[in-house]
Symmetry: C2
Subunit: 365 residues, 2 copies
C-alpha cells in the first residue's frame, strides 16, 4: 500500500493506494477513529454496484462492527442534482444519521462529488471518505471540491470539503470500461504537464500498460498523479491562486463538454481536446515551442483520446460559453498556459481573437 | 454607530449597529472593498419589501455604483427549502453572478439563513452580508450558521459560512410586528442567561422600552446581545464545544416548535417555553435554586411570551422528538442547564424521567 499525505493547513488526510483495500475499509475506519455507535451512509451508483465493488466493502464494514445504510444513485452526470440530493438528505435523516456519521463515496467522480456535497451540507458538515473506482477519480477524490450541477451549468452548487481519507483500491479499476480508463488518463497527463515533465515522459512510455490496468504501473501512476494534485491543493485549498493551474485544458474543455451535450463526450475526452487547444494557444502567445504542443497532441492520440473539436460545435458558441465560465471573473479571458511540459502559468487578458483561431484550427473539417 | 468585532480565527468581521444604516450600505460595501464590476444579489422577503426597507438599500447601492439583482422569497419558514434555493441559484447564474459577487440578505432569520446558504454553496462559496430587520436576527445574523430545512426537520442542510459584515439598521425594527419583537426578545434573554447576569437584569428592567423599540435602548440591547453571541462563536466556530451553550432552551423549545407545527409558534415563543423548562430541569437536577428558574419565568411572562406548553402537545411525542434532535449524538440526552443566571453548562446523561416530569408540569392543564 502506498500512502500520500494531503495537508491544507485546515485539514490533513491520507490517500491510500493499493490492492484489496475495499476489503480493509472497516479496519481503516477503525484506525481513523470513526465511531461505531452512529450509523453511516454508503453512496454508490448502479453500475458500480453491478460491477461488484459493494460486496467487499459491506463485508469489511460489517466485520469491523459498522452499521451502514445504502443510497444508490443512477450512474452518470445527471445524478449530480439538488433534487436527488434532497432525497438523499431525507433518507439520511430518516435513517438516523447524526453529526458523527460518515458518508462513504464508492464510485467515480460523479458519486464522489454528489456524496461529498451531501457530507458538506448534512447537518452543516459531516466527514466523508472517498473510495474511488475510476482512474479519473484520482483527480476528483483529492482536493475537497464537491458539487452538484444546475441544469444550465456544471458544479455551480458546492463546497470545499476535504475527505477524512481517500482509499483507492486498484482492483476496482479491473471492471472499468476502456473509454472511462482513457478519460481518467487525460487527467493524469494533465498532472504531468502542469508540474512534472518527468511524469509526463513516464506516462508517455507506458500508455499501453496503463490502459491495460497493469497493477504495478497503475499504483505508481495514481501515487504520482495524486501527489501532484495534493501538493497544489495543499498550497491553495480554496483556489485563490496557484490551484487554478489544475484547470489547464479545462477552459476550452468545459465549453466543449457542455456544448456537445453532457453524456456525449467523457470529461477526460473534452479535457484532452482542451489541453491540446491550451498548448496551441500557448504557442500562439509565444510562450512555448510548437514541439511541446505536438508532444501533447501525440500522447493524447496514442491513448485513443479525441484530438479535435466535433464539427457541429460552433466557434462563437464555444467562445461565449468560455466567457461565462465561472473562472472568468469580471469579463476578461484568463487561461492557464504552458511554458514547457511541466511548467504552466496563469495568463490574464488572452486576446479573444487568438482563442477563436485555436478553436477554428482544431475543429474537425 | 456601534461596532462589535467577531473573530473566529478563520474569519473576522464587524457588526455595525445604528440608525440609517441601510441608506449607507453602498458606502460600507466600498469600505469592505466589494468590487463594482461584478453583479450582486439582494435576497429579501415579500413582507420586508412591503415594509419599505428595500428602498433605501437600493438607492444607496446605486449611489455607490453597485449593480444588484433582486430575488424576493415569500415571507415565512416555508421558504427555507432546497427547491426554492435551486431557483435562486438558477437566477443568480443567469444574472451572471460570479465568484466575486456578494449576496445581501435583507430580512429576518429566514432570509438570513436562506441567503446565507446560497452564498455558502454558490460556486463553492461567495461572500454575503447580513442586513437584519428583526430583533431575533441579532442571533441568527451572527455566527455563520446558515441552513435550509427538510420537510421533516429544520436546518438539516446547511453550512458554517461567516458573513463579510452584519449591518444592523435599527430603523428597520420600527415596522416589525409586536409578536416578532417578542420572539426576538426571547433570544436576548437567553444571551443574558448563558453569559451575563448583568445583561439579564438590565433587560428585565427595560422590557417595555425594548418592545416599544426605543432606539437608544435597542442599540444597547443589540450590541450587548451580539457581543455575547460573538464571543461564544469566536471561541468555537464549528460547535465542537462551548458554542453548544447557545442552545439553552432550544432542546425542548425545538421539539415544541416542530410538534406545534411550523407557523403556529414563533421561534422565540417556543424558546421562551424551552428556557423555562431547561431552568426547571436544572432545579430538578440540583444545579440551581428555584428562584433563578422563577426569575426566568417571570421575565418571559412580563414580555407577553408564552410560559406553557400547548395542551395538545403530547409528552411522549415531545420526548421522542427531543431524542432525534441533531444534538442528541449516539442516543443519550444532553442538555444545556443552568447553575445560576449568567452561568450554564453542558450536562450529559440527563435522565429521561426528569425531562418528562418537567414537560408534564409545564403543559397547559
Ligand atoms: N471534484 C473534483 O475536483 C473533480 C475533478 C474532476 C472531475 N470531477 C467530476 O467527476 C465526474 C467525472 O468522474 P468520472 O469520470 O469518474 O465519472 P463517473 O463517476 O460517472 O464514472 C464513469 C462511469 O463509470 C462507471 N464506473 C465507475 N467505476 C466503475 C468501475 N470500477 N467499474 C465499472 N464501471 C464503473 C460509473 O457508473 C459511470 O457510469 C464529473 O462529474 C466531474 O465534474 C470532479
Ligand atoms: N442561523 C442562526 O444561527 C439562527 C439562529 C436563530 C434563528 N434562526 C432562524 O431564524 C428564523 C427565524 O427568524 P425571524 O424570527 O427573524 O423570522 P423571519 O425572518 O421569518 O421574520 C419574521 C416575520 O417578520 C417579517 N419581517 C421581518 N422584518 C420585518 C420588518 N422590519 N418589518 C416588518 N416585517 C418584518 C418577515 O417577513 C416574517 O414574516 C428561523 O428560520 C430560525 O431557524 C437562525
Ligand atoms: Zn478535470
Ligand atoms: Zn434560537
Amino acid at each position: 500500500m502506498i500512502r500520500e499525505r494531503v495537508d491544507t493547513g485546515h485539514s490533513r488526510y491520507e490517500i491510500l493506494i493499493g490492492t484489496g483495500l475495499l476489503g480493509q475499509t472497516g479496519q481503516l475506519l477503525l484506525e481513523l477513529s470513526v465511531n461505531r455507535s452512529s450509523r453511516h451512509l454508503i453512496v454508490t451508483d448502479e453500475q458500480v454496484r453491478a460491477a461488484g465493488h459493494l460486496t467487499p466493502l459491506l463485508a469489511s464494514l460489517q466485520a469491523a462492527g459498522y452499521e451502514a445504510e445504502l443510497f444508490v444513485i443512477p450512474a452518470g452526470e445527471a445524478s449530480k442534482r439538488l433534487e436527488l440530493a434532497e432525497r438523499a438528505f431525507e433518507f439520511a435523516y430518516e435513517a438516523g444519521l447524526d453529526r458523527r456519521s460518515v458518508v462513504l463515496a464508492l464510485g467515480g467522480g460523479v458519486v464522489g462529488d454528489f456524496a461529498g456535497f451531501l457530507a458538506a451540507t448534512y447537518m452543516r458538515g459531516i466527514p466523508f471518505v472517498q473510495l474511488p473506482t475510476t482512474l479519473l477519480a484520482h483527480d476528483s477524490a483529492v482536493g475537497g471540491k464537491v458539487a452538484v450541477n444546475l441544469s444550465s451549468a456544471k458544479n455551480i452548487i458546492g463546497a470545499f470539503h476535504q475527505p477524512l481519507a481517500v482509499i483507492y483500491d486498484i482492483d476496482a479499476l479491473s471492471t472499468l470500461p476502456l473509454r472511462e480508463m482513457r478519460s481518467g488518463y487525460a487527467e493524469a497527463i494533465k498532472h504531468g504537464i502542469i508540474r512534472d515533465a518527468e511524469l509526463f515522459a513516464w506516462i508517455e512510455a507506458r500508455t499501453e500498460q496503463i490502459l491495460a490496468n497493469d497493477p504495478q504501473v497503475m499504483a505508481e501512476l495514481l501515487a504520482r498523479s495524486c501527489r501532484i494534485k495534493a501538493e497544489v491543493v495543499s498550497a491553495d485549498e480554496r483556489e485563490h491562486g496557484v490551484r487554478a493551474i489544475l484547470n489547464f485544458g479545462h477552459t476550452i474543455g468545459h465549453a466543449v463538454e457542455s456544448l456537445a451535450g453532457y453524456g456525449r463526450l467523457r470529461h477526460g475526452e473534452a479535457i484532452a481536446i482542451g489541453m491540446i487547444c491550451a498548448a496551441e494557444l500557448s504557442v500562439k502567445m509565444g510562450l512555448c515551442t510548437p514541439d511541446a504542443a505536438e508532444a501533447i497532441a501525440s500522447v493524447v492520440k496514442a491513448a485513443g483520446l479525441p484530438t479535435q473539436i466535433p464539427r457541429d460545435l460552433d466557434a462563437d458558441e464555444l467562445l461565449s460559453s468560455i466567457k461565462r465560465d465561472k473562472k472568468a471573473t469580471g469579463g476578461t479571458l484568463t487561461f492557464v498556459l504552458m511554458r514547457a511540459i511541466g511548467k504552466v502559468e496563469i495568463v490574464k487578458d488572452v486576446p479573444e481573437k487568438l482563442v477563436r483561431d485555436v478553436i477554428e484550427d482544431r475543429r474537425e473539417s
